[in-house]
Every structure is written in structure tokens, then in C-alpha cells.
Amino acid sequence: MAAPALKSTFLDFEQPIAELEARIDELRYVQDDSAVDISEEISRLQKKSQALTKEIYGKLTPWQVAQVARHPQRPYTLDYVNALFTDFQELHGDRAYADDASIVGGLARFNGQPVMVIGHQKGRDTKEKIHRNWGMPRPEGYRKALRLMRLAEKFGLPVLTFVDTPGAYPGIGAEERGQSEAIGRNLFVMAELKVPIVCTIIGEGGSGGALAIAVGDLVLMLQYGTYSVISPEGCASILWKNAEMAPEAAETLGITAARLKQLGLVDKVVSEPLGGAHRDHAAAAQNLKKALQDALRSLADKGPAALVEERFERLMGYGRFKEVALK
């Protein structure tokens, strides 16, 4: 998969890198009709840019990570599907109301092995963003996912999910058609599905809308993904009554892969190429491929009963509390 053809978009905190890269582009342009050899200067600046990227990405704040997770050039589910799978057969519709394009799914082969793939899908340009509803599913999206999970179970196929959503869509129709029930039903079914489920948070893991396809035997998370009970902005506007406190909210909510791994809420952090997955889609896909191979291999020998029992125990283990003697 080629890197995005679009010109790189730099985030606010990447401005020093952007300036260097602009300078490099300028020199490259000049180099073509220049008598002097400036390739040495270019290579020097490139090294500097790399070092700078390494430095900046070495100490990203949680809020900056949230920006990377939402980067407009970040690989989306279908980018990974194209890079990691063959024979992808997209399947559509919930058989009750509609086909929700903010969740994609279908049959595919992973290293030749048939699997079911399900993921949130965001759009790149305005038209596609609208079509994908910014990756915010309505109930029919979750019900399509549910139908595909049951289909996978029927034919004994492992389920691989890719999580990347700001959240379930807060709309009138979504409520009328039972957004809550659709999400809740998925949680129930994923808890008892008799095939392996491997979930990967590839970008934004936005609350219940993310969890509705993120209950599994193993939960992987990309290095600059986020996973949160509420968006930092939402949390800030409720608790601080000021959306501009989002950076503080991001900090205290504990939304980064490293923090969640530390809390034992994700199993593996998948590293991203220098400067984030959007800088090098192919390298990001390669890392994820390796992690998914390992995950599937570790689940391959488990029978359905053991699988469901271990998943159940895992779910029951979530939560931190203490027990006290009662008076």
C-alpha cells in the first residue's frame, strides 16, 4: 500500500517538523536546476527532521496522542483490510432496516485462513465522510456487525474487529431505532460467541460505540490509538464546564495505549512507524499483521467452551475496588 498521495498534514505540535520538511522540499526543487550539489544539505536536514520527529513523538501528551489518533491521513479499517487480507468479500446490511456504511464487514482470508472482518470506517474526503457518517454508527451498523458475528460463529471463522470511531451516532433516528439495545445486544453476543475474537483499536476508541465491537479474547491497541469512556472534549465540558480543558481531561482519563496496557485493559500495544501510522501505511500494516498472526495463533488451539469460559473470566476481572469488613 502506498503512502497517501495527499500532501502531508501536520498537527499543531508538529510545526517544527513541518517547517523542516518544507525547507527540504524547497531545496529539492532548487536542486534540479542548480549547479551546486546540495544533496548533502538535504540529507542533513532529513536526518534532523527524523531526530526531531523522534523527539516530539517520544514525549507526546495524551491530548496530542488523541490528535494523532484522529489524524486525517491515518489508515482506516479498509486500508488495513486491503493491506492484510485477500479475497475480501464485503457483506452489507442488517436485514431489518439499512446498510450502515460507518461499519464495514465481510469475509476475507488472513494468510490464507478464512476469517470475518468487521470495523468502523471513516471517510477521507467530505463526500465520503458524510457517507461514512464520520465513523459514527447507527443501530443498523451494530446490527450488521452482530449478523456477521453470528455468521462467523456458524461457520467457525475467527472474528477480527477494527475499532475507530468517535462514538455511536447521537441522532434522533438512531435513538428511535434502539441505539442502546443494539450496542447492549452486541456486548451480550460477543461475550458468548463460540469463535475467537481479536479486537484492535486502530484509531479512536470512542466509548460505547467502540466497545460494541471491542469485546474479545484479545484486545490489541495501536501505539497512538485512544480508548476512552468519553471524549476528552465531552469530559471537559461536563466536569470543567469548559471544552478547552480537553488536554487536562485527556491526561486524567487515561486514554493512551501505554496507560491502558499498564492498567491491564489492553493486551498488547502495536508499535507504529516513526511519526505515526499516517506517515507510513505499509509499515503500520506490517506491524499489525505480525501482532494479529500472534494473536490468532495463541487462540487457535482453544475449543469453543474454553474460549468462551476464558473470555468470561476475563470480562469478570474488569474493575478495581476494595473489599471491606462490614460493621
Binding site: A168, Y169, P170, G171, I172, A174, E175, E176, R177, G178, Q179, S180, E181, I183, G184, R185, L187, F188, M190, A191, E192, S207, G208, L211, A212, V215, Y227, S228, V229, I230, C235, I238, L239, W240, M245, E248, A249, T252, L253, G254, I255, L260, L263, L265, F312, L315, M316, Y318, G319, R320, F321, K322, E323, V324, A325, L326
Partner: protein, 301 residues
């Protein structure tokens, strides 16, 4: 544990207020606060002035207009369960501040304040008992404890309630009154949605009924997990029930919301719930439903 009378006035939690439409806020705030503490209560719906004791005896349902005022978890269970043979489940489980969460205030301070106001240690109370001599386990959310939000303790108490059902072949009843997942526990609270819902798979496997009763309000992460998965889903009249809060929806779609949107009556019309039941009828209704599902003789026979 007896509840002090004063705390029934119910301090509304400010961030939760923001989730609620203006009409509810008025009912919770202004109308209640005008009333001198204790003796008299004014019905926020019909303005009738009532003896507080009469209101309590009527499970906080206005005797004049049948408006269902919010009721605390313990008062609800007290009104719901037979007086004999009750005991509490999961009270030993209490919260910790894993994330060292701090916004304008610390999570630990909010917990302390909620405990002082409600005399509860978290937002769910679970009891084993009987209704019209039909044994069951019932859980009730305490809305006045941080907006009835679900964190690790709510999840664990819920699961322990389910375990008691599995151990003794009992049905499980849950009354929800909540704004959703508890932000102060981050992803830990998000995952309580998965934990509580997973526990229901075991009840289902054993053919033990789960009756979900949606009280005002039932929103967010609780609504989007176990609350709408009851074998039978009941709701109290006019209860606000939904995934996203009305304000969030209004800001997203930039439209005025339809009349009665996200109310119990609206959900019934949309096919989302089975039945709307007056709080004073819940004992009879649930005893009947449970005995029908479990192929037991009718209650009281």
C-alpha cells in the same frame, strides 16, 4: 441501614444536570428547593402540596397526579420487597480511585460527598428477598450517588447479585436510574458495560429470568449495556430513557427534538420496551411475570 430524612431532598449532580432537558432540571432544582425540608413536598408536575410522609408512603408517586418522583435505591427496594428475609449483597465492595482522577475536584472528594449525602458507599444497592413470597434478587441504582453512574463497584455488585441468582436459581430484577458510565474511572467503567452484560449470559444459559425496570433517567452506558436486554423490559411512566442525552442530540442534529422524545411512552410506541408500569404496581406485575416465566404457580396461591 436507615436513610436520613434530610438526604431525600436529593442534591442533583451538576454534570448530570447537563444531560437532562430543561424541564427535568426545573423539577429537580427549583421546585424541590422551595419546599421547606422534611414536612411538606410540592409535586413538580401538578404543584399539589403534599405531606412528605404521604409521598413516602406512596413510593414517591404523587397521590394527586401519579407523577413518579425519583426515589432512592433503598427506599425503592424497601417498597418493592416483602419485609421478611431480606439481606444485602455486595455491600462489602467499595470504590477506589485507580486513576487518581481529578477535574475541578478529586474523585475521592466526590465519593466522600456522595456518601455523606446518600449514606451509600456507591450507586447500586443489591438485595436478596422476595416479592409476594416469590424469592428473587433485586438491584437498584441510587441516582443521588454521582448521578447513579456505573463504575467498578456498581459492576461488581451487579455481578454478585447475578451470582446469588445462579447459586439459588432465582430471577434477577434491576431498577436503573443513571446517567451512564462513571467518567472518573475511565475505561474501567466503560468495561463495566461488558462485564455486567456478560453476566447476563449466565442467567440466560440457566433460564433464569432477568427483568429490567427503567426508571427516570436511564441513559448512556447503562442504557447501552444490560438495561434494554431484560427478558422483559418495563419502564416507569415518563422516564427518560436513551443512549445519548437530549442536549447532545440537539447540538448534533441541530433540530428541535420531537415532543416526548426518549420518554417511556415514546419507547413503547417505537417497540423498545414491553410495558409501562406504575411504581405502585411493580410488585404485582413482577411477581406475575416471574412466576409465568418460571412456570410456577401464581403468586399468593
Amino acid at each position: 441501614m436507615p436513610r436520613a430524612g434530610a438526604c431525600r431532598e436529593g442534591r442533583a449532580v451538576s454534570w448530570l444536570q447537563k444531560l437532562l432537558p430543561p424541564k427535568i432540571k426545573r423539577a429537580e432544582g427549583a421546585a424541590r428547593r422551595q419546599v421547606p425540608e422534611g414536612l411538606w413536598s410540592k409535586c413538580p408536575a401538578c404543584d399539589a402540596v403534599l405531606y412528605t410522609t404521604d409521598l413516602e408512603k406512596n413510593a414517591r408517586v404523587c397521590p394527586k397526579c401519579a407523577h413518579h418522583d425519583r426515589i432512592g435505591a433503598r427506599a425503592r427496594l424497601d417498597a418493592f420487597l416483602d419485609p421478611e428475609g431480606r439481606y444485602e449483597i455486595g455491600a462489602e465492595v467499595v470504590p477506589v480511585d485507580t486513576l487518581k482522577f481529578k477535574d475541578s475536584r478529586r474523585y475521592t472528594e466526590r465519593l466522600e460527598e456522595a456518601e455523606k449525602d446518600t449514606h451509600e458507599t456507591d450507586a447500586l444497592v443489591v438485595m436478596q428477598g422476595a416479592v409476594r413470597d416469590v424469592p428473587l434478587v433485586a438491584a437498584a441504582f441510587e441516582f443521588d450517588f454521582m448521578g447513579g453512574s456505573m463504575g467498578s463497584v456498581v459492576g461488581e455488585r451487579f455481578v454478585r447479585g447475578v451470582h446469588a441468582c445462579l447459586d439459588q436459581n432465582l430471577p434477577f430484577v434491576c431498577f436503573t436510574a443513571t446517567g451512564g458510565a462513571r467518567m472518573q474511572e475511565g475505561v474501567l467503567s466503560l468495561l463495566q458495560m461488558a462485564k455486567t452484560t456478560a453476566a447476563l449470559t449466565q442467567l440466560a444459559a440457566r433460564r433464569l429470568p432477568f427483568i429490567s425496570v427503567l426508571a427516570d433517567p436511564t441513559m448512556g452506558g447503562v442504557s447501552a449495556s444490560f438495561a434494554l436486554l431484560g427478558d422483559v423490559v418495563l419502564a416507569e411512566p415518563r422516564a427518560l430513557i436513551g443512549f445519548a442525552g437530549p442536549r447532545v442530540i440537539e447540538q448534533t442534529v441541530r433540530e428541535k427534538l420531537p415532543e416526548g422524545f426518549q420518554r417511556a411512552e415514546f419507547l413503547l410506541e417505537k417497540g423498545a420496551i414491553d410495558k409501562i408500569v406504575d411504581r405502585r404496581e411493580l410488585r404485582d406485575e413482577i411477581a406475575s411475570l416471574v412466576t409465568l416465566l418460571m412456570r410456577l404457580p401464581p403468586p399468593g396461591s
